[in-house]
Symmetry: C2
Subunit: 587 residues, 2 copies
């Protein structure tokens, strides 16, 4: 069926043409697997837009490609199209993008996806991996700046974040998912010879183990970070032989529409049915989400989005497998610091980053009532709160700097939330910093807001005891250091939390916090200062979400994220007593 | 924290006393891992009772230990005991065993389990693996024949099956679960150093990755095969740091009570809290199942048992992880055969084995209306059905032979089912073989029945379209060979099915059947004749259940069975710029 030759480095090389894409990208996948194993820093992509090959031309081409979409019908030759729809509005211009997407009949998408699965799932796993790595490579080489512009004008991210967080870092997360998919599939022997004596007879069986996909996966993508969870979820499902229907948030369709079209093109070019990847666009008025989750052909659901709908998905996806990432109260504990100003500067930066619209953005800052110990003495609680407010104000005072860091508000709902929380803060606590729009230097119509910072006590848990999506945070007075840690980790366990941040010079306190946050299930960053955003999550190294609290049930990326997406079917029969086949290619 | 030295074979040896049990059993685990990787035949245990060390004495001691339980209170020093209960009846004597077990307050068990978890989960994974391998070894060395007797007199298995299927093979499945647990845990690096430039600064972080258990697992064990699924489920949860509450079927408590006591003793001897493993006995009248599944502290549910309650568990376990194995219509397709008599003999044996009370027992035999092609010509449908009935009758005519193979009926409900199905068979089809009690040569009061065999057509799907638990099977006339395969695989997909059996001399038909059964999700055995029971499932080699149809959502044992039972929590902090620690012991 295939011929395996051994390269000079000892690795098997697959010579058949269907393995060409795998061979093309194999070094990348092997290097990524090493990074996943050792969790060190690595990426095949340049970190900054300026380092992209022929960057200026590529950026200009990406912008032009994005602009060419505006006011047009997005061509996607997929089945079941019945009219068109599209309601995206740029947070930068607050004007509609005017892009019209096919409105799809869900049944037609499921039927087409189910029809496409057999040939795809029966291909060798390496063939699938090769095609998917090629799709990521095409996204990188041909569409990265187009997607970055699309992310800016839907999610509202800054250009740099759109390039990094929604571009190369998301591609890295995709490769990472492929590493784990390969690992899980290679753990299954493709065949075996089994011999045992039963009474007087020697029974010799040849066994074949097939990887069987679950079926059709539905991948929900969110408004503020469309690609970051979506690409790895799609790749985890596709690599293991499933098909994927992508259901983007209606506010942020374009980045996923471009992605879907790339996957379809690359699949078709490799001889597979492009209907393995389709797009199901809906509207806020007529959402498709519940229909897709409850569809009898839905075998896997990946969901990124709101806590409320995420919980509904978790409760209703069965019998489909369900992987969720929602949100929570990300917590900060300020106990003591060698350099409090450096800590507060880092914290302020991270509170401002993309107007705190990241699932990893901190929200609740827990401080002992007695204040924070420093080498210069204890800084009282009120002073800590004020210095944090000052640090935020310093970052957002200059519109150019503010634009780079705050970017825009994805949704008008966040403006309403800011008004509501400001009022609640004045009523039940103290507003340290009012939110106000800031003038964006490039986009005068941009939907912007500086952060709202509220001071309160643990008696005002109703204020901070849920995710307040947008630039709202709370400095919370706790009884003492032990109470700060107790409150923070209890809130994580109860309300969810992905990330956590701790400043302490006390190693025993740090050890207690590591244990408490591990149990609560938030990924903890300790005493980090300097230019790295506190909530920066590195592909191949940082696990994203633990699955231990309400912020999500899955982790990007561990074996559990991929191992259940395929199943193992075996057949066995008496061996024809010839020597075993020479090929021992794993899955 | 630990010292690693390198043995002459290059593997690290863990010198600290807490690793002593791991070192004691490490060779077994490594050998088992090789078997899982290559799927060949291997076991550390003797296949037959006679090969057990000092077998006669061990068997006598096991019998004596079993008899000593009768009519007594089973001592189990676990928390929350409030009275006692026990309603087991031996299928061999039809007399109550008279064993009284502690009735436990579920809340007390959950609280004790939750309290026991931290120290257990914070131990090194190898420490846990060592303790659990020791527990399996103690079960093997000290309790195997006691458990075999307990299985006989609760589940009703024959002595040989109780030894093999509920003894050594179940221990093998337990070791197998430990192999995959180790593999999933070792895929996570324990720590890493991560360096990246941000602007002008070089950020160097030391990262720690902790394995965090889900919490308290509830393990339901079934009446007819108590240990086989239970031990691997318990071990998968325990190895990954969780605690387990065992909820045995009220008819079959003793094998699990003995198991629980062994785990508790070994855990305590190793310095861990024995409440990591507790027993929750209930009664048919006042079942605890739903209370345990819906308990807020339940984090994992393993369920083996009826289709009906299994479906309820799958639908209601959320947010707990849920692994089920229930039952289904295991199918046989008879298309053509080189030696039809040999095929029918094997089939008859497997239909009789433990009175078809195994989840892998075949039930539905699909035959083309035109009959089965053989080298001597086509044998007509009616003749095939009659020859199968004759083969079954030949096996069950001699009480001594019948006792060895049929054993007993676990439940009186099966007798009622046999009466009901016999009537339905006479009404809607043809009864080829009536069921009747056979006189057990050793136990005159034994609850016995020879198999009921019914002939029908695909129009009588209401007869065979669900699992009929007990010795009932159907020879089903199908339009032709294609229809036989279509009907069989459709029934598997719709009603569930773990195993499937095919006889065909047509390679293209075999290939079609392999593909169709892989999609339907039944593990297929092709053209097997001779002394090996067709439904024999070899640990380390045969995957049990695919998770692709209603017969269960989990597979023993793949990575998906263990990978979700723990989660990964990380912490990261600026590195103290010393050389990295010399120890690189994996999880």
């Amino acid at each position: 069926m295939w011929r395996v030759i051994t390269a000079c480095n000892g690795s098997a090389v697959l010579e058949q043409p269907e393995f060409a894409l795998f061979e093309k990208h194999r070094a990348t996948l092997e290097r990524a697997a090493l990074a996943c194993r050792e969790r060190h820093c690595w990426s095949p992509f340049p970190e900054m837009p300026a380092k992209y090959p022929d960057s200026a031309a590529a950026q200009a081409a990406g912008l032009a490609a994005f602009q060419a979409h505006l006011g047009t019908r997005f061509a996607l030759e997929q089945p079941g199209t019945m009219g068109e729809l599209g309601e995206e509005v740029s947070p930068y211009s607050q004007a509609p993008l005017g892009i019209r997407y096919p409105r799809a009949d869900p049944d037609a998408l499921f039927d087409a996806a189910a029809h496409a699965i057999p040939a795809w799932s029966q291909a060798h796993a390496s063939v699938r991996l090769g095609v998917l790595l090629e799709a990521l490579d095409v996204l990188y080489r041909e569409h990265l700046f187009e997607i970055a512009q699309a992310v800016m004008h839907t999610a509202g991210q800054s250009f740099n974040m759109a390039y990094a967080g929604s571009g190369v870092n998301a591609l890295d997360r995709g490769i990472e998912a492929l590493v784990y998919a390969q690992q899980a599939m290679q753990a299954v022997a493709p065949r075996a010879r089994w011999e045992r004596r039963f009474g007087a007879a020697q029974i010799v069986l040849d066994k074949t183990y097939r990887l069987v996909p679950r079926g059709v996966a539905v991948c929900f993508t969110c408004a503020s970070f469309p690609t970051w969870n979506a690409w790895p979820s799609m790749l985890a499902s596709l690599a293991t032989g499933n098909a994927v229907i992508v259901k983007p948030h209606p506010a942020t369709v374009l980045p996923m529409a471009i992605s879907v079209r790339v996957f379809r093109r690359v699949l078709a070019a490799a001889g597979f049915d492009p209907n393995l990847v389709t797009l199901a666009v809906d509207s806020v008025e007529a959402p498709l989400g519940k229909i897709l989750v409850k569809h009898p052909k839905t075998a896997i659901v990946d969901f990124t989005g709101s806590v409320r709908f995420g919980r509904w998905v978790e409760e209703n996806a069965q019998p489909a497998l369900c992987f969720t990432e929602t949100a929570g109260c990300n917590t900060v504990v300020l106990e003591s610091a060698d350099d409090l100003d450096a800590a507060l500067r880092s914290l302020a930066t991270t509170l401002c980053m993309f107007s705190a619209q990241m699932c990893t953005s901190p929200q609740n800052v827990y401080v002992p009532a007695a204040g924070v110990r420093t080498p210069e003495g204890t800084v009282p609680f009120d002073a800590v709160a004020q210095r944090l407010a000052d640090a935020v104000a310093a970052l957002t005072g200059d519109p150019k700097k503010a634009a780079m860091i705050l970017a825009t508000l994805q949704s008008p709902q966040s403006q309403a939330l800011l008004r509501e929380m400001s009022e609640a803060g004045r009523r039940d606590g103290t507003v340290l910093l009012e939110s106000r729009p800031y003038p964006h230097p490039e986009f005068p119509e941009a939907r912007t807001a500086t952060p709202l910072l509220i001071r309160c006590t643990t008696a005002e848990r109703h204020l901070y005891g849920e995710e307040r999506f947008g630039p709202v945070s709370f400095v919370i007075r706790c009884a003492d250091a032990a109470d700060a840690l107790f409150q923070a980790t209890r809130d994580v366990k109860e309300f969810g939390g992905l990330t956590a941040f701790l400043y302490s010079t006390d190693e025993s306190y740090i050890a207690a916090a590591e244990a408490a946050y591990a149990t609560a299930g938030a990924q903890l960053t300790i005493n980090l200062t300097g230019p790295m955003p506190l909530n920066f999550a590195a592909a191949y190294s940082d696990y994203h979400v633990t699955g231990l609290n309400p912020a999500g049930n899955a982790s990007l990326t561990d074996l559990g994220f991929v191992a259940g997406r395929f199943r193992i079917a075996q057949s066995r029969r008496p061996a024809k007593m010839e020597p075993a086949a020479a090929t021992t290619l794993p899955h």
